[in-house]
Symmetry: C3
Subunit: 305 residues, 3 copies
């Protein structure tokens, strides 16, 4: 296994020093945001992690290796290149064997973090059950990954284009804890409220860390969703954004967009129709997640040392 | 892991002596039956296990520990307290970390039993696929637990408020053996027949024990459902009980009851509308399951010693 | 575990010599084809594997043992006997404990291969999501097995009576790689094209072997589907075969056929209605899969030695 992992100097030193580490994904860079905001956000998020007392480890597949921590040049390349494959669990083996560039989704980043022994991962939003999945069975591999891989995912809920209620049901069936961080309902990505109550709610990073430690000490495999609402000053007006999402979904349907292409298409549409306001909100929530995720990584590291 | 487990004196001695042990759940006490019948039934079920030559281990979460075997005072507390959380797989870590009282569901009891090395668990009925789950995706975490945790669950089928056919399909997909104990169709909890045939049927505790041993010796992870029909003299009239369940489901729908609240609401309604007959039947079938489950635990223990 | 496995002399010698081995299933013999074509095909497939430089290991449950490699007499028995149970994951333990004859499905053959350390398995088609499963939840245990057991399944896609699009969605959620072998869309069993694109496409046995090695070296549990289209000269006319499948599905519905009985019923109908052309095509595709699967097994064996 070790021969596939390549650690950046910063991450290697953090491991040796027993410092807290926060995993970050690369799909958000290569497929989730336009250039140059993607690279700029990636750098700022990494700096927020450092400022909070942890070390960032952005994951990617490069030249047959899983990179744990990217250099500045590599961040730039993933923000710019158009030959980067979106890598989920099913793609990792083939992309490594054929030495292709792969940007890791939530599922794949969880896998890479787990392989590197990193237990906290910060992103924008997780994948989930797509609207209409009752008949299309279009359900993100992120959810099954949360059911089996020991990494906590700090996010602003499921991406807003998904069916939030069905996503919660699926996670409940898989036994995945969903923690409302400073809220007792699941946030809805661009907005703070979804109307779906959660059974676990806390604003204590120590309680989250304690939950993770008890879960994993007992061998209860799987991750956790730490759902952290977008800051009040950054949230979009619910009526505005929900109307736009409805329109985007309609347009995807009319154009026969499906599978892997759906998420980038919808996110692109939402960005256009909001005249960029969604991108601003997305960047704000990711940074806020980085702040909270770093606090949790620090607390978890203290509990285990 | 060991630091989270606290064994009662009776269970500890049974483990040391190599005696058979039967796991029991606590949600049936705190959320499944009214006081004082819940506590009285729990005590009688424990005694049936002892009379059959095994030792009962009722599971619960108390003060940051998983209790394997409850004292009489603890049984009383779980039957009376109103601050007991319903603990499924997703809740265990948080309830332990925050030292809350947790009553274990079927899924959580399987986990606790597995951690304690107990392979046979007796309950009333398992959770399953809810009626309407084709669109709501409301599927109990018990089913995924049966797909991965090595504990046999002796029950009278799935709770009658569920969709029995879909529950069987789901278990088939997960590769979970469902054994008709003295029947070739799945029992329907309050009644002996559901009309759904099973591929495995036996009335031999030794055959069940042999099946479990072969399965687990081979490393085929997951549990098994041992479906034991309610005794003939205790079963409810099918037309009577099914009519009442239809009414209760209708009422739940009209009142917008969903998720975690559904099962207690429906079971409460069924109890009211049957004027207590369902409670009497529920107690009878649990006791019968305790008798059969103890025989299986004894047979399994002999095979492995 | 070892006490349940019984290796044929040929397979045992292959293991000791470090030779490549190809697993084969027995349900295709006992339930998938009529006598004597089933036995004749089984023998010819085994010979194709040998001619390609590997050793065949047909799996079956006999007298409380998992047989890894069948004798000629045993092949004949499985082709003829009418007391052979169809063994999927859920059935293995009980059939072994009660010493019944069991013909292994795709799921069960994957399990047997994994227990024997065999990583490549050749069959006709995998099970999948049944048409109408949005409401029936009828989903083959083969798919969940592919999500957790480390065996590559070389096939001509999912059996044609299934819903191919939903099967692909389900495999994506479970993180299972689906490789188009010499095609960039999933083949449709009797025909070369289904219209459903695949994200991985190659005609290199070395690349497939490299993908498997990277996946399993990293501990990414689960199998892979290597989808190999039926040869052009053997494929059926799409309009012809699809019309017949529609008729067979209609007839199954009208006759209330469900569960375990569905696949043999539909395959039987398809055979009748095609006046045997489907059987000829089925035999041709299995042999072609044996040729390709052997190449992959040889390549995988070289990579690991
Ligand atoms: Mn999808
Ligand atoms: Mn539920
Ligand atoms: Mn089925």
């Amino acid at each position: 296994m070790k021969q596939y992992l390549e650690f950046s100097k910063e991450v290697k030193e953090a491991i040796e020093a027993g410092k807290p580490i926060v995993a970050l994904e690369s799909t958000i860079i290569s497929h989730g945001m336009p250039y140059p905001q993607n690279v700029q956000t990636a750098r700022e998020v990494e700096q927020i992690v450092r400022d909070g007392g942890a070390v960032p480890a952005t994951m990617a597949l490069i030249d047959g290796k899983i990179k744990i921590g990217l250099s500045d040049d590599e961040l730039e390349m993933f923000g710019n290149a158009d030959n980067v494959a979106k890598a989920s669990r099913r793609d990792i083996g083939y992309l490594l064997a054929t030495k292709q560039l792969g940007a890791t989704t939530v599922a794949a980043t969880m896998i890479c973090a787990d392989l590197a022994g990193i237990r906290v991962f910060v992103t924008g939003g997780i994948g989930g059950v797509h609207r209409g999945a009752e008949t299309t069975m279009d359900i993100s591999a992120d959810l099954d990954e949360l059911g089996k891989t020991n990494v906590a995912v700090v996010c602003a809920g499921a991406k807003s284009i998904l069916d939030i209620g069905l996503t919660l049901e699926y996670l409940e069936t898989k036994g995945v804890p969903v923690v409302g961080y400073g809220t007792d309902e699941l946030p809805a990505f661009f907005t703070r409220k979804s109307g779906f109550p959660l059974s676990i709610s806390t604003d204590s990073a120590e309680d989250v860390a304690g939950m993770l430690k008890a879960k994993w000490d007992l061998g209860l495999e799987g991750g956790a969703v730490i759902a952290n609402p977008i800051p009040e000053e950054d949230e979009l007006d619910p009526a505005f954004i929900n109307g736009i999402i409805e329109n985007a979904l309609q347009e995807a349907k009319e154009n026969g967009i499906s599978g892997k292409e759906t998420t980038p298409f919808l996110l692109g549409k939402v960005k256009d129709l909001t005249e960029g306001k969604s991108l601003v909100a997305n960047i704000a929530l990711v940074k806020h997640n980085a702040k909270v995720g770093t606090e949790i990584a620090v607390a978890y590291n203290e509990l285990n040392s």
